[in-house]
C-alpha cells in the first residue's frame, strides 16, 4: 500500500524530544563473519540511535531506534521510503528454554494442524567475573555456549543500550543460533559490546564484532535530522504477518 504520510523536516524536528544521555557519541565498529565484513557506525544522541553501514559499494539500509518506545525505523535510500515497527520486547523462542508450547508459525493463525517446534537449549549470558578496560570503558567478559560453539563477549554498561543492525523487518522464523541471538541477549541486559568472538569446537573463528573507536559528540539541532527519515521520504507498509 502506498501511504502518503510524507514527513517534513520541521515536523520531524518538532517531534524529537531528547532525554539526557549518559553519552552522546559516534561509535565505529567492524563486524565480520566468514569472509563478509561490515563497517558499522552507531550515532547515539539521547534516547535515539542511528545505525548505518559506511561501505559505499551500494545504498545500505539505515536503522533508527527510539529506546523509549522501542520504535525502529528502517530507511531505504533505494526508493526513498521507510518502514516502522516495534522492536521485539520479548525474547525470541530460542532465547530461553520454556515449558509452554510455542504458538503456530507466523502467518498461520489458528487454522490447521500444527506441530510445535522443539525447544532449543537455553542460552544465557554467563558472567565470567573477568574484567578489563577497552577504549576507556570498563568491560566484563561474558560467555555464551551452544553445541560446542563458544562466544566471548567483552561488554560495558557505561554506554547506551545496544541494538542490532538489521536490513529488513524482523524475520518470522528466528534462528536459534548463538550468532543470531547474542545481540538480543545484550540488549536485554543493557550491555554494549566492545569485543566479541565466536569460535567453533575446533577453535576456528566464525564471527567477530569489534568497536574501533568511541568519539563523544555534541549534536546540534541540525544534526538531529539524522534520527528521522529524510524530508520527502514516504512511509511504506511493512510486509504482513
Amino acid at each position: 500500500m502506498f501511504m502518503s504520510a510524507t514527513l517534513t523536516g520541521a515536523a520531524v524536528l518538532s517531534a524529537l524530544v531528547l532525554n539526557a544521555s549518559a553519552l552522546d557519541a559516534r561509535v565505529q565498529a567492524v563486524s565480520g563473519q566468514g569472509q563478509d565484513r561490515s563497517e558499522l557506525l552507531y550515532t547515539i544522541a539521547g534516547n535515539r540511535m542511528r545505525i548505518e553501514r559506511t561501505e559505499t559499494n551500494q545504498p545500505h539500509v539505515v536503522d533508527i531506534v527510539v529506546f523509549d518506545s522501542n520504535a525502529v525505523t528502517l530507511v531505504f535510500p533505494q526508493n526513498h521510503g521507510f518502514i516502522q515497527f516495534s522492536a521485539e520486547a520479548e525474547p525470541s523462542p530460542g532465547l530461553g528454554a520454556t515449558n509452554s508450547s510455542p504458538g503456530p508459525p507466523p502467518g498461520l493463525g489458528n487454522a490447521g494442524p500444527f506441530i510445535p517446534p522443539p525447544v532449543m537449549e537455553k542460552l544465557e549470558l554467563q558472567d565470567t567475573g573477568r574484567k578489563t578496560n577497552l577504549l576507556g570503558f570498563e568491560c566484563k567478559l561474558y560467555e555464551l555456549k551452544q553445541r560446542g560453539r563458544a562466544m566471548e563477549i567483552w561488554a560495558t554498561d557505561q554506554l547506551p543500550d545496544f541494538e542490532p543492525y538489521v536490513e529488513n523487518q524482523q524475520r518470522r522464523f528466528k534462528p536459534h543460533f548463538i550468532e543470531d541471538q547474542w545481540q538480543e541477549l545484550l540488549r536485554a541486559k543493557k550491555l554494549f559490546p566492545l569485543l566479541v568472538k565466536l569460535r567453533m569446537e575446533n577453535g576456528s573463528e566464525r564471527m567477530s564484532f569489534e568497536v574501533q573507536s568511541i568519539t563523544p559528540q555534541h549534536f546540534t539541532e541540525e544534526d538531529m535530522k539524522l534520527f528521522a527519515p529524510p524530508a520527502g521520504y514516504t512511509r511504506l507498509q511493512p510486509l504482513p504477518f
Binding site: M1, V61, P105, P117, H176
Partner: protein, 490 residues
C-alpha cells in the same frame, strides 16, 4: 433361371417406383421465404461495456464494464481512478504511462474501500532516462494500488508493469488474487495479493518480489534487502534476493530460494525444496524452524547448508559451516570442508563427510546406521552426551566411522560398529560390543575402551596397540594392553 426371375423383378420395380412420388408432390413451393435471420448476440447483449476513449486521465465512478480504446498518458498524478464497486476494467492491450519525473501518482488507483474489481490485459509502462548525468525516471509511484483500504474481491490478470517507484500490483490480503502478471523493476514490492499464481516479478526492491498468503507457480527476485518471495504457503515457486532472504514462507513445497548474501530459504516446514546462498558470511542455505523433508541446503560461507529440528531425507553442503544441522536427522547427507557433515542430537541412516578438520557426523545422544568420514583430524563419528548426574550415555550403533588423523568412532557405547583411522584411534569408547576398530598408524590403537569390550576385534597392523580395555570378553586384538582382564579370549 433368367426366364423364371423376370416377372418378379418387374413387379418389384413397379412397387418401388410408384410409392415415393405420392408423398413428394405434397411439400408445396421450393422457393425459400427469405434470408435467415441473425442468431448472434451483440457484445452489449452479452456484457454491456463502456469504451474509455480518453487518452488522458480517467475517473470511473459507476459500476460496470469498461475497456480502453487508446493508450493513456498523464503528465502527473493518477491515470485511472476507480471509485465504484463491481467494476471490470479491460485495458484491451493498451498502455498506461506518465511523463512525470516526480512519481507520486498511481496508474490504476482503487479509491476508498473497493469490492469486486477486475483489471485485465494491458501494460503499465515507466521509463528510465538520464538528464545532466542524473537518472530521471518517468514512472508511476505504483502500478495498481489502493489509497485507503485493501479491496475485497479484487482480481488482476494479464497485466505487465515495468518500472515503478514502489509497487507493481498491490492489492493487500483481503480476498484478492493476481494471475499471469509480470512486473519488472519495482522499488518496493512487485506483486502483493492474498493469492498469486503463474506470475513473475523481477528486479524488485525493499519489500518483496511477490508477497501473499498463497503463492503458486511464481518466480520473483529482489535486487536489494527485500524478500524474493514472502508468503504463508509457497508452492512450485522460486525466489531470489540480493541481500535479503530468497523465500520466506511458513510452508514451502517444491520451491527454490536463493540469495547472494542472505539465507536462501527460511521457513517453518519445507518439503521437496532447495535453499542456497552464495554468501561467504554466515547466511544459511535452508533454515526450517520445524521440519525439512526431501530438501537440499547449500551455502558458501560459515553458515549451515541446511538446518531443521527435524531433517528427513535432506542434503546439506557448506564449506565452513555444518552441512546438515538438526535435532533429529534421518536419511541425511552432509558434506563440508572444515566443519561437521551432520550435526544433530540423534542421527539415523545418515552420511556425513568432511574434507577438513571437522567430523563426519557429530551427535549428542545416538547415531544409528550412520557412516561418517573425516579427511582431517576430526572423527568419523562422534557421539558425546551427558545426562543427569553427568552420566554419559552416548551410543553409536551399526555405524562406520573413518578418519584420517582423528578417531574413527568415539562414543560412550559402541555396538556393531566399525571404526578406522589412518593415524589415530579406530574406536574410542567406554564399552563396545560386536565392533571392529583398526588403527593404521604406528603407535595408534585399534580399539581403546576404558571399560568392557565383548565380541570385538582391535587391529593395529603397523605397530600400534590392537585392543586396549579394562575387561575383554570373547574379543581379539593384534596386541593387548597390560593389565587387561581377559575372558574367553583366544
Amino acid at each position: 433361371m433368367k426366364t423364371e426371375l423376370r416377372p418378379i423383378a418387374s413387379a418389384l420395380l413397379l412397387v418401388i417406383s410408384s410409392a415415393p412420388f405420392s408423398t413428394a408432390f405434397g411439400q408445396g413451393s421450393l422457393v425459400p421465404p427469405g434470408p435467415p435471420g441473425p442468431t448472434m448476440k451483440t457484445l452489449d447483449q452479452i456484457e454491456a461495456r463502456t469504451p474509455l476513449t480518453n487518452s488522458g486521465a480517467v475517473a470511473i465512478s459507476q459500476s460496470g464494464s469498461y475497456y480502453l480504446t487508446h493508450n493513456i498518458t498523464v503528465a502527473s498524478g493518477d491515470a485511472i481512478t476507480i471509485a465504484a464497486d463491481n467494476v471490470t476494467l479491460d485495458l484491451n492491450g493498451f498502455t498506461i504511462s506518465t511523463t512525470t519525473t516526480t512519481p507520486s501518482g498511481i496508474a490504476i488507483d482503487l479509491v476508498g474501500t473497493r469490492h469486486s474489481i477486475s483489471i485485465l490485459n494491458g501494460f503499465i509502462q515507466g521509463s528510465a532516462g538520464t538528464s545532466n548525468g542524473l537518472t530521471i525516471n518517468n514512472e508511476f509511484n505504483s502500478g495498481v494500488d489502493y489509497s485507503n483500504a485493501a479491496p475485497d474481491g479484487a482480481r488482476v490478470s494479464g497485466l505487465t508493469v515495468n518500472t515503478v517507484l514502489r509497487h507493481g500490483v498491490y492489492l493487500g490480503l483481503n480476498t484478492s488474487s493476481i494471475q499471469s502478471c509480470f512486473v519488472d523493476n519495482a522499488g518496493d514490492t512487485g506483486l502483493d495479493a492474498s493469492f498469486v499464481s503463474d506470475s513473475v516479478a523481477y528486479n524488485c526492491g525493499t519489500g518483496a518480489g511477490i508477497s501473499g498468503r498463497t503463492i503458486n507457480n511464481c518466480n520473483a527476485s529482489s535486487t536489494s534487502s527485500g524478500f524474493g518471495i514472502y508468503a504463508v504457503n509457497a508452492n512450485n515457486s522460486a525466489g531470489t534476493s540480493a541481500s535479503g532472504v530468497g523465500i520466506e514462507s511458513t510452508y514451502v513445497n517444491y520451491c527454490v530460494g536463493s540469495s547472494a548474501t542472505g539465507d536462501g530459504l527460511d521457513t517453518a516446514t519445507a518439503y521437496n525444496s532447495t535453499g542456497g546462498t552464495t554468501s561467504t558470511g554466515g547466511a544459511n542455505g535452508l533454515y526450517a524452524s520445524v521440519l525439512a523433508c526431501n530438501c537440499t541446503g547449500n551455502c558458501a560461507g560459515t553458515g549451515r547448508g541446511l538446518y531443521a529440528p527435524a531433517a528427513l531425507s535432506c542434503v546439506g553442503y557448506s564449506p565452513v559451516g555444518n552441512a546438515v544441522e538438526a535435532n533429529t536427522a534421518q536419511n541425511c547427507y552432509g558434506n563440508t570442508y572444515s566443519a561437521d557433515g551432520v550435526r544433530a542430537k540423534t542421527a539415523e541412516n545418515c552420511y556425513g563427510y568432511t574434507t577438513g578438520n571437522g567430523s563426519g557426523i557429530v551427535v549428542d545422544a545416538a547415531a544409528m546406521n550412520c557412516y561418517g568420514t573425516s579427511a582431517g583430524n576430526g572423527s568419523g563419528i562422534t557421539v558425546s552426551s551427558f545426562g543427569p548426574n553427568n552420566a554419559a550415555f552416548g551410543v553409536a550403533q551399526n555405524c562406520i566411522g573413518i578418519s584420517s588423523s582423528g578417531v574413527g568412532i568415539q562414543a560412550i557405547n559402541v555396538n556393531n560398529c566399525n571404526g578406522t583411522s589412518a593415524s589415530g584411534t579406530g574406536i574410542s569408547c567406554s564399552g563396545a560390543t560386536g565392533s571392529a576398530g583398526q588403527a593404521n598408524g604406528a603407535g595408534s590403537i585399534g580399539i581403546n575402551a576404558s571399560g568392557i569390550v565383548i565380541g570385538c576385534t582391535g587391529t593395529a597392523p603397523n605397530g600400534g596397540l590392537g585392543l586396549s580395555a579394562y575387561i575383554a570378553n570373547s574379543s581379539f586384538g593384534t596386541t593387548y594392553n597390560s593389565g587387561i582382564h581377559e575372558y574367553n579370549m583366544p
